[in-house]
Amino acid sequence: MSDTPVPAPASRLVRFSIGAALLGIGTCMPLLIRETPYTFVLFMFIAQPLLAVAFLLFTVKVFQDLRRGRLF
């Protein structure tokens, strides 16, 4: 039997978290490129909630792994 740990399969939570973070960052970019009222609305009401959701999903995943004892 080998001692090398077998990596866990990628979870749906992590994929959603990555997706939300990508969308969140993507919606921040128009504001950084050109500030208009519309890009500001996009940043305030779409980008920030998406980034918060990404962080929340990632935190849930970290706690799940901690409970199963396979974080490190």
Binding site: V14, A21, L22, I25, L31, L32, P37, Y38
Partner: protein
Amino acid sequence: MRIGRRLLPALLFLSLSVTAAIAAGRDDVIPRPHGWIGTTEEWARSLGIAFAILDVLILVAAYRSHRRTGESPASRQLLFVAIAVLPVGVVFFSYFHALEASKTVESCGACHVMTPFVNDLRNPKSDTLAAVHFKNRYIQENHCYTCHSDYGMFGTVHAKWEGLGHIYRQTTGRFTMPIKINNPYSNLRCLNCHATSQKFLDPAKHPQEDLPALFSGKTSCIDCHGPAHPAPETRASR
């Protein structure tokens, strides 16, 4: 540690390139002094873009690594940086940039409803109070914001809060034409600059007995010095 050693040079390179690109795109009339490296706002903006690009690259790398090999400590570290660390930088610099850029005349003029007001500022024939201040550079920059925000920290907070309301109404179309100023215009905004000027203190122009009414706001500066902006019926033609 290894991630940090790779991230920092990448971040520095990206922010320098973006700052250089932004500085190259400026159409300044006045030449900048020797050794000019950009404004704080330009640096904040380029750092925000650098953080965002780096974050997207790391997220894509983490996603690919996840698909190929599943979850591993290295991919978790990458994800932690990309989801919990870098977005904080992106949001911070986005706010910094947005709060500064939203003070400019261009930002106020970005809504169609404001176009006649901004056109009037630049109209060489206009003699409205706002146009006179703008064309003579009585106010150096952020002309709309300077006259339409109260002074002090809470003046800024109040102006930003009202600005958010303007953005909401513009985006949802909840406003009626012609637009009107939300609250009566406070004399204190004029007096903050004019109250100690010789022209204002000249009794021939502002008699001593009139000053209490001006300071208390019973008499509006605009009553004698208006109109501040073009009248609703002439806005379309300006």
